[in-house]
């Protein structure tokens, strides 16, 4: 049977400006596009990746402007458009003062206590 992986993204906004994306969302999208059976769980601060209206534009050092800042909510949408499920940990959302309506559509809610059950659906869990 084909390998099925759950990628857990917890670390957030780590070098996203320099990389112009979150490198794990990027990798997951690349793998999904190449046919991998991979879904993503956002937990901890990474639940903020689902927030609408993030804007990292405008960074400039001397004459050097950043022309393509990260667009994390767009990247999440792209990942979902590729067919990946993107789960978001509801307890972590609430703890950070967020409501469901603050987040982009399509994210599948899972409680922190539900993650153990979710793990059973996957052959491997890659925690980034």
């Amino acid at each position: 049977m084909a390998l099925k992986v759950l990628s857990i993204v917890e670390s957030a906004y780590r070098a996203t400006i320099e990389e112009q994306d979150d490198t794990i969302l990027w990798t997951s999208t690349a793998l999904k596009g190449a046919g991998a059976d991979i879904d993503v769980l956002l937990r901890g601060n990474a639940v903020n990746y689902g927030v609408k209206g993030q804007d990292a534009s405008g960074l400039q050092f001397g004459a050097k402007k950043q022309t393509h800042p990260p667009e994390l909510e767009v990247d999440l949408q792209r990942l979902m458009d590729q067919g990946a499920k993107v789960f978001v940990t509801t307890d972590d959302v609430a703890e950070r003062g967020l409501e469901r309506t603050d987040l982009i559509r399509g994210l599948e809610p899972v409680s922190r206590s539900g993650i153990a059950k979710l793990c059973a659906d996957y052959d491997q869990i890659w925690h980034w």
């Binding site: 992986v5 670390s11 070098a15 490198t23 690349a30 190449a34 491997q124 890659w126």
Partner: protein, 137 residues
Amino acid sequence: MSDKKTITFALMDPPYENARSTTALRLINIAAERGYNVNVFAYEGAVGLPFTKQSPHANAVHGHDVDEEDHPLPHEWIDAIAKTADANGGTLDWINCGLCVDERGVHEALDFVRRGSPADLWKWAESSDNTLVIPTK
């Protein structure tokens, strides 16, 4: 049934920044000593681990010259692990993420290190007995 296993590791941390890179090499070394086939996909800062331009230095605070300080160079540790793997009938196959190498400029790597992409990680994951991702923070 053969005892030889194939294990894949995905690493992210650069050398000299935190304990994870050392623990990762400890794990890889154990697998090499067992004669396993070990795959390492080095992502982001981890592409700096096999960089051959690392060089040792003296340490005035320790009161050591270069030789006395014998400063660890991760690329030498990795080279030694590769030899261990070979001596025990196993392999160490190391791929550096190419884009990560480009942006960091760490092109000079041990001669057995190859350039690749996340697709290589997935191929390895599919064909290995197991995969361990050691994330950065």
